[in-house]
């Protein structure tokens, strides 16, 4: 019988023994292994984080697109402005049946949400909103704080999502939506 043994194998009493590693060898091996393992775990962790972040960005983009589409559609139909502050806009707009209804957009900083109230029905159109402001412009394009002069509205918002203590933010700066049905002073 031919017995093949490793370099460190010893034969004792006819039994082939595999030689053990020295402590130094084990420490080196464990160190190298640890480094590789840490690297692998870090990579996996980063992959997981970035994967979730991508999902968050996609989610924020989708929700902001949807919110802006609804907002733009409402504003285009606006006939009159009732209230125009940096966090609250109330206006009268025509609905699909050509009836004037009251529409409002309001930011609740404590809940980090933006609400839309359309003809008495309230819904949340943006969640986890870190910052939100509305800008108003008159017919000449100049910024205004006077509800009587408001012809265009702009949204400036910051959405935030947190994953594994990492914050993902998405800044929205909309174009200026014109109140096409609103007559101003000219």
């Amino acid at each position: 019988m031919i017995t093949t043994i490793g370099l460190r194998n010893r034969s004792r009493g006819g039994i082939a023994l595999r030689a053990g590693y020295t402590l130094v060898e084990l420490l080196i091996a464990m160190g190298i292994g640890g480094i590789f393992l840490t690297g692998a775990m870090t990579s996996v962790n980063m992959l997981a984080r970035s994967s979730v972040s991508v999902g968050h960005y996609a989610n924020m983009n989708a929700s902001s697109r949807r919110a802006l589409e609804i907002f733009a559609s409402d504003v285009r139909m606006a006939a009159d402005v009732v209230t125009s502050t940096s966090t609250n806009l109330v206006f009268e707009a025509y609905d699909d049946t050509n009836t004037l209804v009251t529409v409002s957009y309001a930011y609740d900083a404590s809940a980090d949400e933006v609400y839309r109230t359309y003809d008495g029905t309230t819904s949340t159109i943006l969640t986890e909103v870190d910052d939100f402001s509305l800008g108003y412009y008159d017919l000449t394009g100049a910024s205004t704080t006077n509800s009587l002069s408001v012809k265009e509205v702009e949204i400036d918002a910051s959405l935030i999502r947190t994953v594994l203590s990492l914050e993902n933010t998405n800044e929205i700066i909309s174009s200026r939506f014109m109140m096409r049905n609103r007559k101003v002073s000219s």
């Binding site: 970035s50 989708a62 008159d138 017919l139 205004t144």
Partner: protein, 452 residues
């Protein structure tokens, strides 16, 4: 030993597979997110583009109206046109289509436009917009000036009423035909372009950018009786801009070259006006009464002065085109119809400040003044000082006890044939029109108009 080595090789494989699965899941998530992002952004772009196309279609119709050129349109009926533009390319096989339908057979034009964007993969977005175009009035405000509006003295009051409901009937007489839309507006960007002093404006004040109206002890706003000093901020804005075009004297064949000082002119019930084209000054003395009993157009290349009276009967209407100074004193112009648009006074001067138009004495009158280069003064005193209508001028001055009542019906006066947007609607859901054929469009449009 071989089996032992095989197991070790297997563990590596399993490790690689696990890592591959993790990487695969992450990559799949990336791809899914990227795909979703692409689809959403594509749809957003398509929707925006479709809306832009629909509005571009409306612009095309505006051009047709402005130029009265329908040569590239399909005539559907009298005043009804249709156009289909299907050659808009967005590249990469994505195309846009615009369908526009305009019906201007009625008193106002109604238009509906559909914009569609579609790509080679079958993705698409469609938007529809429905608008109306109505006449543009040059008299959207009671008093409009290019330069300044100044009230001096006490008890100058501006408010409003609706001439379709009868003559002005204010609260002091227990009346109901009055309102708080007596707007005053100036396009000037000079400080205190509107100075109401101790006067009262029951309505709005519109200034140029960055300005506020000057108020001494006067008031601007809706509260009656007026509180002393100040203005309601909801009734004042600084965004006023306006085109004030020059007067165009109509090209008419003159029936007479002299306007008589007295007597009766005009033909009651006539459908075309009697035209007077006079070179020289007109002066009506204190004993003269000129009665206008039908539609007349009076063009005067000179000064115009009333010391006696001009009376417009219920059948009469007058358009004055005056190049020089105009003075409505004495008993002034009595517009018995109480409808301001039946007495139109156009100042035709094109030299800044070279023309003055004055209403004073017992000049109680309903009139409309349009004189872009004139100084218009309206003085109180006499037996009345009550004036109604609207004034557009380079500068306007009102003095003590002059009351001016803006006729809100003048917002609908077709002044120069120009159009303005009446309403704008994006059609969504069930309110959309079927654009399959001009017949279905006409049916849908009729339903929309009926629903307004």
């Amino acid at each position: 030993m071989r089996e032992f080595e095989k197991r070790r090789s297997g563990s590596v494989l399993i490790g690689v597979i696990i890592m591959a699965i993790i990487v695969g899941v992450v990559a799949g998530n990336y791809l899914k997110s990227a795909s979703l992002e692409y689809k959403l952004s594509r749809q957003t772009v398509y929707m925006q583009s479709a809306l832009n196309l629909a509005e571009a279609g409306l612009e095309e119709a505006f051009l047709g109206i402005e130029k009265s050129d329908w040569s590239t349109w399909t005539r559907v009926g009298s005043g009804v046109y249709y156009k289909n533009i299907s050659s808009v390319s967005f590249g990469d096989g994505t195309t846009g289509t615009v369908k526009v339908y305009i019906d201007s057979s009625g008193s106002e034009s109604v238009l509906v436009s559909e914009g569609t964007v579609a790509d080679a993969l079958g993705n698409s977005a469609t938007k529809q917009v429905f608008i109306s175009l109505s006449v543009r009035s040059l008299f959207a405000n009671g008093l409009t000036s290019k330069d300044s509006i100044t009230f001096s003295g006490n008890n100058v009051v501006v408010d409003s009423y609706d001439s379709t409901l009868g003559p002005y009937d204010g609260p002091s007489d227990g009346g109901t035909n009055y309102s708080n839309e007596g707007s005053v507006a100036s396009t000037s960007v000079v400080t205190e372009s509107i100075g109401i002093g101790n006067g009262t404006v029951y309505g709005y004040a519109f200034t140029g950018p960055g300005l506020v109206p000057g108020v001494r002890n006067g008031y601007i706003g809706p509260t009656r009786p007026a509180p002393i000093r100040g203005y309601d901020t909801d009734y004042v804005s600084d965004d006023f801009t306006s085109d004030i075009p020059d007067v165009v004297i109509p090209s008419l064949t003159a029936d007479y070259s002299v306007v008589p000082d007295g007597g009766t002119i005009g033909v009651a019930g006539a459908s075309v006006p009697t035209v007077y084209d006079m070179t020289g000054n007109f002066r009506n003395d204190s004993s003269d009464v000129l009665e206008i009993d039908g539609p007349v157009v009076i063009i005067i290349d000179g000064n115009f002065s009333v010391r006696g009276e001009i009376e417009i009967t219920e059948y009469g209407s007058a358009e004055f085109y005056i190049s020089g100074d105009a003075d409505f004193g004495g008993n002034g112009v009595a517009n018995k119809s109480d409808i301001p648009e039946k007495l139109m006074i156009y100042g035709t001067s094109t030299t800044s400040g070279a023309q003055t138009i004055s209403v004073h004495g017992n000049g109680q009158a309903s009139f409309v003044v349009y004189a872009p280069y004139a100084e218009v003064t309206m003085n109180g005193g006499g037996s009345s000082g009550e004036m109604s209508g609207a004034v557009v001028a380079e500068s306007i001055r009102m003095t003590g006890n002059a009351n001016f009542h803006y006729d809100v019906n003048l917002k609908n006066l077709d002044s120069d044939g120009a159009k303005q947007l009446g309403y704008w609607r994006e059609l969504k859901g069930n309110s959309r029109i079927d654009f399959t054929s001009t017949g279905t469009i006409a049916t849908g449009l009729a339903a929309l108009v009926a629903g307004l």
